[in-house]
Symmetry: C2
Subunit: 452 residues, 2 copies
Amino acid sequence: MRELHQPGQLHPAPENFIAPSLLDDITKHGLDAQRRTFLRQSFLAAGTVMLAGRAHSQAIDQSAEGDPAILNLPPHSTSLGNPVASSPYGQPSRYEANLQRRESPGLTRVGAASVSFSPLQGMFGIITANGLHFERHHQGWVDIDPSQHRLMINGLVKQARVFSMDDLMRLPSVSRMHFIECGANTGMEWGNVAVPTVQYTHGMMSCCEFTGVPLSLLLEHCGYDKKNGKFILAEGADGSGMTRTIPIDIALDDVLVAYGMNGEMLRPENGYPLRLVVPGVQGVSWVKWLRRIEVGDQPYATKDETLHYVDLMPDGQQRQYTSIQECKSVITTPSGGQTLVGQGFFNISGLAWSGRGKIRRVDVSVDGGRNWRTARLESPVLSKCLTRFNFPWTWDGKPAILQSRAIDDSGAVQPRLNQLRAVRGAKSIYHNNAIQSWQVGINGELRNVHLE
Amino acid sequence: MRELHQPGQLHPAPENFIAPSLLDDITKHGLDAQRRTFLRQSFLAAGTVMLAGRAHSQAIDQSAEGDPAILNLPPHSTSLGNPVASSPYGQPSRYEANLQRRESPGLTRVGAASVSFSPLQGMFGIITANGLHFERHHQGWVDIDPSQHRLMINGLVKQARVFSMDDLMRLPSVSRMHFIECGANTGMEWGNVAVPTVQYTHGMMSCCEFTGVPLSLLLEHCGYDKKNGKFILAEGADGSGMTRTIPIDIALDDVLVAYGMNGEMLRPENGYPLRLVVPGVQGVSWVKWLRRIEVGDQPYATKDETLHYVDLMPDGQQRQYTSIQECKSVITTPSGGQTLVGQGFFNISGLAWSGRGKIRRVDVSVDGGRNWRTARLESPVLSKCLTRFNFPWTWDGKPAILQSRAIDDSGAVQPRLNQLRAVRGAKSIYHNNAIQSWQVGINGELRNVHLE
């Protein structure tokens, strides 16, 4: 099966795309008039119907006989296709079977406590199609009957309450687009392991439009204790009974008790029928299969916030509750494992995000960080959401190192890996937001490198 | 299978949700302290673990024996779930099998020249999950091998050219969110037919993030004739050889030659591997399986723009090339075919859009248009994109008529059906953007009504 948009080999653009300054607003600019001969050759070799030069020709008339062009029409252009609703719930093309989330072999001992990574190298824009959303389970995923599912809110509240899904889905709802990133994303890069592809370096991240009830509404409704209620505990209904402490100010800010994801119900792997959405905070706090929220007066210090998801510092201490996903970006194509076939124009494309707010700017370097130029950001640019950037680049065939550097609207600048290591050491797992470097060899092959 | 979020029966919220003015920003407001007794009853009856009042209890300890609460834990909370990547490309929950696009029985003679409608009554936010995108084919859908597909640009150009998919995908790309609406959406409502559900009145509409190459870049690249090139013809590779004329000023503005849809490649039913995206313009012009673009000096007047997609006016004349989808909105829930079970709070939710730009405001009426109040718009509000609105409503058990009215940033106000008929007559098929009315009976049943 051909990986059309996960190309192992990237050919340069057929055109002599010129100076980036001319491409600042690519919809308003034309191309260099200089053309290469191979374009014309490929035109002649394409085997496609030729009508060039007919200034006002009619559309191809398939009933016309004797026109040699007609002989070249493929069967799909001369026959009856498939009926509507032949897939009541649609599926990707058979030619796209290779674009899939993948488990990293050997990362964990059992697949029910593992990760599958989103194939960022073959994805576009900022929205993650639900079928490609990354997975991280602690005791496997379950498909819960929504008619039996309940959410309880208890603890420091005037009135503990239990909600059915019907109860929740008729309450006022909001819809918002947010990224979700596992705190362990890019975790292997702390040490000397340079994971070969962007799917495995950064693929524990996805971005969707979520719909649900503001948690603040439910907490108010239960009469939470405004004096002593300083934290909430969110608890999942899976076998791991995942539990996470969240400060009350975050819980009251923009947290959602969500059931919708990209217009449809959550997928089972993502917590169907109910999960917490905690914008800007690491994925483990977005508790899936959410069954209970308790209001308390201090952090709960549960297993998954004392033994896991803590940061091992150089002095041997563990930092807890460092849950905000800091300003970060990565070039998704060209990226590790891909090969540039020949010199010429390539579109550098990537993603930027920050748990602190909006992305203000993304810079791109093709020389390992000596020089930086500003990339073009696609709209919309939303708070705590992925931002897609694009940058035009003409490869001259010499060695190059591609990097991106994000700056968010709090002023935070994405750090270099050695800057981060100077503070955090090299034995952490979580919260690595370092600049990613893809080295281009003279053979055009890209690989993940750790710069000094 | 239970249609959880396509409920035939809508129960009121368990709470006495109060005046809409207090809910303007629902994330900042609390609820009425008055509670109904049935909430407490449902709480006691819910069969869920009770930990109310334990201010700082630990998470449920599944190893604790002798606690009767433990006995109630369902199997999915006490066992090992499914491994990651058990669906490398994920699928919806088994409980969501009823949420699907559906063909309207009898609408056309063959399924290959028919429509399947998006289930708007069960959808959230603005993004359409790719599996629920509506379909409209003229000779069926095909799944084209992208390595064999070509796009030709010819006509009034200095150099006709043919592009492979590889050629196109390495060019500069942009990503944008846009709605696509069939020109025939809501077409049955011109006459006396009041189609019963919102899936069939408005479901020929979806909204995605599209990624592709600006058409302007390709036209510049081929050296289109800036003096005489007034129109383009877009042509599809399916059996119908769909052809549409598009004015050059639209073609140069924001049209994309697109391959990406919500982060992945287009679906076969939506034109894989290449379709035109013509923001704000009716769906038929978003030519699927795009194989050719020709630059010409006058409209092409092909079959699908002379016999179809024309507006029959009261004087018997046909209006051609009325392709912009005008300012429009619809309440998606509660909507026709659903039943309100009892008085109380309901969240009215719907969609608004305009082919002219952004939605400025949406008003909601619950009394058939005598009084209007402003709905809350979800962000982002983008140009030529769906906008989700929400409006809090407490039903008093009396007859009601629910309507929404959109206003776009060009100042256009969505018309009443009788206003539209006064100009356009009642024999049209296309371009009906009238206000939709859902009548609520004293039995709580909602049905589609045409008001005088």
